[in-house]
């Protein structure tokens, strides 16, 4: 335990020592809350800007320089002061508290994501499984929210969302398994450290492809955005959300986007490894932004796929490729081809 100061004169230095301690900084500032909120709101702006450029528009422009970068803050303020409409006969408790729980669940997995050798909050031995376990709670939350809003579009959308996330979780886990086999650890720090000489995208290229497709499906991005399909379902499972509730849901969704991008970076793109002229966290964030760009771009250029295509892709092709790739990885590791890179 930390010894509390008894002398009143010691209180200010004590507080300063707490604020400047590494634990506090990791928790609150850098991989912690402030960074997460900033990064996810930056991602909303970035997505709008990128899509606008793809479609030869300009996008957000007026709030702040350059290019309306303060737009997320303006949106947040607007949404906070908007009236919240709880639909008639909706389940009020669930409707208001599920979004908060979603934000909580979206922030929780960042505890184990390493942004640098020392920039990790909790060095868990089961880090990867922790991320998967926490994200697997999302679908049930979404279906409960959709049920609670007592409206038809959210219910259909929530059902589709549940079904889709459930279908793509399995190939995602199994494609991550070959990374685990290569690194021989579930600890994300160890996984990144194992990539010092060679990024796992090279020995595990197939699982990278599978993982990336599954990430897009988990995030409900086009071409997999059946749960929110605007022409059919208005806005999918969050049709009835307004005001603060919508803000919380949006924050949770973008936190999940950021989480999945960092996860791809950490598992396949070597995490913080890069030429030493930039500090480690900068490399992680740069790679994450590249991954996020590739996740966002299809939204501007691809049409939506059909439900049966979704099923066939997830349950037959991706699952079989992922399983086959596990055994391919086993063969590669056992044959000792990778021993030159210390694997």
């Amino acid at each position: 335990m930390v010894n509390l100061p008894t002398n009143p004169a010691d209180i200010l230095p004590f507080i300063i020592s707490i604020i400047t301690s590494h634990t506090f900084i990791t928790l609150v500032i850098f991989p912690g809350l402030i960074h997460l909120v900033l990064a996810s709101s930056f991602l909303t702006w970035y997505e709008r800007k990128l899509l606008a450029r793809i479609q030869l528009r300009i996008g957000p422009l007026y709030a702040g320089w350059p290019g309306g970068i303060l737009q997320p803050i303006a949106d947040g303020v607007k949404l906070i002061f908007k009236e919240v409409i709880v639909p008639y006969k909706a389940d009020r408790t669930l409707f208001t508290w599920i979004p908060l729980a979603l934000v909580f669940l979206g922030t929780l997995p960042f505890a184990v994501i390493p942004f640098g050798q020392n920039w990790v909050i909790a060095n868990l031995d089961v880090g990867l499984v922790f991320v998967f376990a926490t994200t697997s709670i999302f679908p049930s939350m979404i279906i409960i929210f959709a049920w609670a809003s007592n409206s038809k579009y959210p219910f259909i959308g929530g059902l589709r969302s549940l079904f889709q996330q459930v279908a793509y979780e399995i190939p995602m886990w199994i494609s991550a398994l070959s990374v685990v086999i290569l690194a021989r650890s579930l600890n994300l720090l160890d996984i990144v450290n194992a990539q010092a000489k060679i990024w796992f995208i090279i020995p595990a290229f197939l699982s990278f492809i599978v993982f990336f497709i599954c990430v897009m499906a988990e995030l409900e991005r086009l071409p997999f955005d059946l749960p929110e399909a605007e022409p059919e379902l208005v806005a999918g499972w969050y049709t009835e959300a307004s005001g603060v509730i919508f803000m919380a849901l949006f924050l949770a969704l973008y936190l999940k986007l950021y989480l999945m991008s960092t996860l791809v970076t950490v598992l396949f793109l070597g995490g913080w490894w890069g030429p030493a002229f930039l500090p480690q966290p900068v490399w992680t964030i740069l790679k994450t932004m590249v991954v996020a760009t590739f996740i966002i771009i299809p939204r501007g250029i691809y049409p939506r796929i059909r439900v049966d295509m979704l099923i066939k892709l997830g349950w037959t092709r991706l699952l079989i490729i992922a399983l086959g790739n596990v055994f391919l990885t086993l063969l590669i590791v056992n044959s000792g081809v990778l021993s030159a890179w210390g694997l």
């Binding site: 919240v84 908060l100 929780l108 909790a122 499984v129 038809k152 459930v166 208005v234 603060v244 086993l330």
Partner: protein, 113 residues
């Protein structure tokens, strides 16, 4: 665990404050609070019984969830496992492959659900 507590402490006030500001219990207004249906008046019950079509996939997910967690337990330590025992895992997966194929065949037939 500390992380979880801290997030609760931070996101709690951060989001409940606007909640409290925005959520004074007001009189129910049937027309304003009506569910959105592109301007039409909603008919019938919203939480209608959902179709069975999605059921087999959720079931398959439950089964393969267990398989996935098992494979992770095997994957982190496979260097310390003799190769003969790893063949056991192969057998495990092959044994599960056949039901998966049959389940998919059942699930893809529309008339079953």
């Amino acid at each position: 665990m500390i992380w979880a507590v801290l997030i609760l402490l931070f996101t709690g006030p951060l989001l409940t404050l606007p909640y409290l500001i925005v959520f004074p219990k007001r009189k129910e207004d049937h027309f304003r609070d009506m569910p959105f249906e592109s301007g039409q008046v909603p008919q019938g019950e919203a939480r209608r019984r959902l179709s069975m079509q999605y059921y087999p996939y959720v079931l398959m997910f439950v089964v393969f969830d267990v398989v996935g967690m098992f494979l992770f337990a095997w994957g982190i330590s496979f260097t310390r496992i003799p190769i003969g025992s790893s063949l056991m895992v192969l057998l495990f997966l092959i044994l599960l492959g056949a039901p998966l194929g049959y389940a998919l065949r059942l699930a893809l037939r529309r008339e079953n659900w």
